[in-house]
């Protein structure tokens, strides 16, 4: 029992409610939301360290012992993701202060970002599958508002589709939950794992697990990503960055949790399907990134490639691959957020989103240009940046398990990622500059700070991979041996 566990969910919610009453005090809203996220970041770091010394923590709400009550569980995997999500949100807020504009700030932008992060943290921490559904909905409702906020023609049109897709996906989540409850008569994830193991995961349970696979794939953008490029390119830059960094990753988290903890027994069925889906996702994502002519399309298809690559780690399913997947997940959250911020800033400076219409940006904005270069290298997996460790470990795991096709696809995708971003870099940053130094729009200071902080964290994740190894190894070990998780909950 540790009451600290509920704070990453409850603090953002309470602060968001308070901020609603401070509608016109924008500076106050900024300060409070920033301090809140800073606090949550520090808190999740402390919790991560407590997990290392005391093992998996759990909090049984109002004292109802598992499997009867709802509970929060913090293992290393969940806490790493909570920490990364909080870091990303904190830095994105810094970017928002100088760019989002008065209109958004007065229309409750900050409260909804806090609701979003509350839903995300709740999804990572919960140990009850129905509670996972509720946290998903908290996160999604906030994201519906954030995607439509601003009310432009394109935005409204795309957000309507986004909301409808997600309503149908949530419906399927409920159907899967109903069948799961009907079969195993419990909702506690650890207890489900025990019951499924007792029953030996018969075809009915495998079917239920595939229903979950479809639902989470829709959220993660694994194969079912048709909605993603449209809806991720309409909201303001900072919202795009938050979505790219957090929303698909919650789906990936749910997939990993479901297929390592609850339904790990029929791997030749479920993991094969995940493997095929991941492979097709990578191919389709690469094709999209290659054919894209504007920076938004290229960036969104890069998100899809990233999702496919992480799930190779799950499909392969060895401990090395899982360690790699966790490393890559941390890297992807940071690097994709930075990529979207940079792309949005390019649009802000030039007013153009087509690659060929921009040129010579690096002359006027040298730091900006080199940061783009760094994030490009990180996404391609060049050492010593953050993508490298994850890529190597996933590759090593794939060789151990003998999945050479996935290995080849994964590494071929790195080259495509490099090519698609290099195209932006060469065309838009090099060459003759079209804007003279006097006419060029200055980049806001806050935005620069957020770029630099993201770059530092990317370099840190790459160079300091050794110092993260303690946490990541523990997370991968818990994922590979579900009994650790189950014992911590049902026998504590």
């Amino acid at each position: 029992m540790n009451n600290l566990l509920v704070l990453p969910l409850i603090i953002p919610i309470i602060t968001a409610v308070v901020l609603v009453f401070l509608k016109d005090h924008i500076v106050l809203q900024r300060i409070i939301s920033f301090i809140t996220m800073l606090f949550v970041t520090v808190l999740s770091f402390i919790l991560l360290n407590i997990v290392q010394t005391e093992g998996i923590l759990r909090l049984d709400f109002s004292g109802w012992l598992p499997p009867f009550g709802i509970l929060f569980v913090a293992d290393s995997f969940a806490m790493i993701l909570v920490l990364t999500a909080s870091v990303v949100t904190t830095i994105c807020l810094l970017y928002a202060f100088s760019t989002i504009g008065n209109r958004h700030e007065k229309m409750f932008f900050y409260p909804f970002v806090l609701f979003l992060i509350a839903g995300v943290n709740g999804s990572f921490l919960t140990g009850d599958i129905f509670n996972l559904f509720v946290c998903f909905e908290v996160m999604l409702l906030a994201s519906y508002v954030l995607i439509a906020l601003g009310g432009e023609k394109r935005q409204l049109r795309e957000s309507l589709k986004y909301v409808l897709i997600n309503v149908v996906a949530s419906w399927m989540f409920l159907v899967a939950l109903a069948f799961l409850y009907g079969t195993v008569k419990t909702l506690n994830m650890a207890h489900i794992a025990v019951r499924v193991a007792e029953a030996g995961q018969d075809p009915l349970l495998t079917t239920v697990s595939i229903l979950f696979l479809i639902v989470f794939s829709l959220k993660a953008g694994l194969l079912l990503f048709f909605w993603l490029p449209g809806s991720y390119s309409v909201p303001p830059t900072v919202v795009q960055a938050l979505f790219a960094a957090l929303l698909t990753k919650v789906g990936i988290y749910a997939l990993i949790r479901t297929f390592t903890l609850m339904f790990p027994l029929q791997q030749d069925v479920t993991h094969t399907i995940i493997g095929i889906m991941a492979g097709v996702t990578i191919i389709a994502g690469c094709m999209g990134a290659l054919s894209g002519r504007d920076i938004y399309t290229i960036a969104t298809y890069n998100v899809i490639i990233g999702v496919g690559f992480i799930l190779i780690g799950l499909a392969v399913g060895t401990e090395t691959a899982m360690t790699g997947a966790i490393y890559y997940l941390i890297h992807d959250m940071l690097a994709k957020a930075l990529l979207f911020l940079l792309v949005g800033m390019m649009f802000y400076i030039t007013g153009e989103s087509v690659v060929k219409k921009m040129s010579g940006l690096i002359k006027n904005y040298p730091i900006f240009g080199w940061i783009f270069f760094i994030v490009m290298l990180a996404l391609a997996g060049i050492p010593p940046l953050s993508g490298f460790v994850g890529k190597v470990l996933i590759g090593q795991g794939a060789i151990e398990a003998g999945s050479y096709i996935l290995l080849a696809l994964g590494f071929a995708s790195s080259i495509i990622v490099l090519y698609s971003l290099l195209r932006i870099f060469l065309a838009s940053f090099f060459g003759e500059t079209t804007i003279s130094l006097e006419d060029s729009k200055p980049i806001p200071k806050g935005a620069y700070w957020s770029f630099i902080l993201f770059t530092i964290s990317i370099v840190f994740v790459g160079m300091g991979a050794e110092s993260l190894a303690v946490y990541v190894k523990d997370a991968a070990e818990t994922l590979m041996n579900p009994s650790i998780y189950i014992d911590a909950i049902l026998k504590g």
Binding site: V134, G151, S159, A178
Partner: protein
Amino acid sequence: MESLMMILIGILVAVATYLVLSRNMIRIILGTALLSHAVHLLILTVGGLKKGDVPLLSQSEGPFTDALPQALILTAIVISFATTAFLLVLAYRTYKTNGSDDLQELRGMPDE
């Protein structure tokens, strides 16, 4: 009783699917509302229809009815109420700004 419920759920899902696949915005939203009703009935049915007494220890000896599906449904109803309300407002605003409630016309240009 269960099979009767399953037929009802099937009909609801079929009607809802028909509505969701149409082009008119309001019909789609009504379709999602029907979908949620169907899944609430599904949770109730697979959770086991009433077989025992009220789950209050002081009131009876048992066996008791499982109260959990009803708690789940209550939560799901609240959530679907919120999303439907949001969808209706969003649809109205989309209609106002885009001047159409036909999804075929809201597809958007590929290179706009």
